[in-house]
């Protein structure tokens, strides 16, 4: 049997400290926590940076490092620094060195990097080793060369290699959410279907229980399946909360693709052991004939400057769409004539349909509308210039030529805010590998020695 303690769904999200302490008391074999995902958008992979504050990350990581020292077992984090790019891994390694120095801890640190060089990806594309998933953006050598970061999602094999170094702490770049949980129980011969299924149920911490905010759960893996036990005093896992978690952020509720195969839970059996623990058996792991890892890439998509104005005049509110359409047309013409080409002006109507756009079938105006102006351009200078051309229209544009010049509400000065570089995800592909470690780099260092 292998016990994996999962403190929370992600480092930086917080957890119930009593639940973590209870988990350490259960004598886990490993502590595993996720460090991120793509869910916060392309900025983080594009820039190779973390979403969470350094101070919050350091405070939580310090607690986990101390819990690890107390338990005397490995601590592993996957997708370090939100995106798992090499620079985000370096960021967390630096934080780890600081904590070790400040606390006098002595430990062995293994670092697994997932970053991919664009030229190596261009070679792989040429060799037919990169294949699209559904739906995949078109890719080319140019697209790959333009990525600021490309990462491959490590699976259990690469994490096992990191654990095999005898490391006390493993900091991994991009991994699948499940690999950090599945690696050790798979290495110790637990039931593969049960391991991957338990890892998927556990990857969001207590989200698969009745008390999602309690964070910490313990999963016990064995020869036939797994058992989930929430560590929060009030948290309960039920067959419903556990089986429903396969739906979460997963397009297919029965199948989960991982490097080297896929999990099939269509014949899984969920049994309540008591009021708060659930036992799952019957999950299947199907080995694939090719070993592939998923790729994620982000590249520059231009520069953005945004403006915000609020409109309260009832006649303008009633005619807000026509007002905005006229502004986009006139500002676009003027900016083309005076500052340059290649930009886009988009006005989003907050209070009408800013969230759903033309999909909204129930949009109606209230007493006021916020107009969010978004200018996207190939250079930062052009995005600012166009926003400044747009500015007088947002402030004073009249509905008709005959009326006195109106004035609308800018909440701040200047009304335009430079958002800098914006990024886009540009890969939904897999990379075929002859050897799982081919696309990954593993290094080891001693801290506090």
């Amino acid at each position: 049997m292998v016990k994996v303690l999962i403190p929370s769904g992600a480092l930086g999200l917080g957890y119930d400290r009593a639940a973590l302490a209870r988990g350490i008391g259960e004598k886990p074999d490993i502590i595993a926590i996720d460090g991120g995902s793509t869910d916060s958008g392309p900025h983080y992979l594009g820039t190779g940076t973390s979403k969470y504050a350094r101070g919050s990350t350091k405070a939580e990581w310090r607690e986990l490092m101390q819990a690890r020292a107390e338990a005397g077992v490995p601590l592993i984090i996957g997708t370090a620094g939100t995106c798992g790019a090499d620079s985000a891994v370096d960021w967390l390694v630096e934080i780890t060195r600081e904590i070790a120095a400040e606390t006098g801890m002595q430990l062995k640190l293994a670092v697994l990097k997932s970053g991919q060089r664009p030229d190596a990806m261009i070679d792989a594309l040429g060799q037919g080793k990169i294949t699209p998933l559904k739906p995949a953006p078109e890719i080319s050598e140019e697209v790959l060369a333009s990525c600021s970061n490309i990462v491959a999602l490590a699976g259990a094999e690469q994490i096992q290699a990191a654990l095999d170094t005898g490391a006390d702490i493993v900091i991994a770049g991009r991994t699948t959410d499940t690999a950090i949980i599945s690696a050790l129980p798979l290495a110790r011969g637990c039931h593969a279907g049960g391991v991957w299924h338990g890892a998927k149920i556990g990857e969001c911490g207590a989200l698969a229980t009745t008390a999602p905010n309690s964070g910490t759960i313990l999963i016990e893996f064995d020869e036939t399946g797994f058992t989930i036990t929430p560590m929060g005093a009030e948290a309960r896992a039920t067959p419903h909360t556990v089986s429903a978690h396969m739906l979460y952020e997963n397009s297919n509720p029965d199948i989960l693709y991982e490097p080297g195969g896929h999990l099939d839970v269509s014949r899984s059996n969920y049994k309540a052991l008591d009021g708060r623990r659930v036992r799952v058996t019957g999950s299947e792991w199907v080995v694939s004939d090719r070993y592939t890892v998923k790729l994620e890439g982000a590249r520059l998509a231009g520069f953005q400057t945004v403006s915000l104005v609020t409109v309260r005049d009832p006649r303008y509110v009633a005619n807000i769409r026509a007002w905005c359409d006229d502004i986009v047309k006139k500002a676009t013409e003027k900016a083309r004539a005076r500052v340059g080409e290649g930009f886009e002006i988009d006005l989003r109507l907050i209070g009408l349909d800013a969230t759903l756009g033309d999909l909204d079938t129930a949009a109606k105006v209230g007493t006021e509308v916020g107009v969010l102006g978004m200018v996207t351009a190939p250079t930062e200078a052009l995005s600012r210039e166009v926003a400044k051309v747009l500015n007088p229209y947002l402030l004073h544009h009249p509905l008709t030529e005959e009326e006195e010049m109106p004035t609308f509400a800018f909440p701040f000065s200047p009304p335009e805010v430079n958002r800098g570089a914006v990024y886009e995800f540009c890969l939904n592909h897999v990379l075929e590998l002859d050897n799982p470690m081919d696309a990954f780099a593993l290094s080891v260092e001693e801290l506090g020695a």
Binding site: G41, S243, A244, N250, S251, N252, P253, T355, L359, N428
Partner: protein, 99 residues
């Protein structure tokens, strides 16, 4: 005629990666589940998202009384055209369907 949001326990939408959106309709009882499965056709959902019906994946999960629908995102997450980074607001569109 009632609205889906009024008879379902919960309608939830989330990203499933940057390129997919997944909608989970928790129906609560077998009766509501049967009614929802019969009424919320993949064709209707495709039309709601201005998508081709062939790209909508459908999972009728009787053991959970859940109808799950997955489709490519209306705009890829985080692109200039995207309006909702986490995709959770699309649930409102589905909840407003008449059933």
């Amino acid at each position: 005629m009632s609205r889906l949001g009024d008879i379902a326990v919960k309608v939830r939408s989330k990203n499933a990666g940057p390129f997919w959106l997944t909608v989970d309709i928790f129906c609560g009882t077998p009766e509501v589940f049967a009614q929802v499965c019969a009424s919320v056709t993949s064709m209707r959902v495709a039309s709601l998202f201005k998508a081709d019906p062939s790209v909508v994946d459908r999972y009728e999960m009787a053991s959970l009384n859940v109808l799950k629908l997955s489709l490519p995102r209306p705009a890829t997450q985080g692109t200039r055209q995207d309006r909702d980074m986490h995709g959770a607001s699309f649930a409102a569109l589905v909840a407003e369907l008449d059933v």
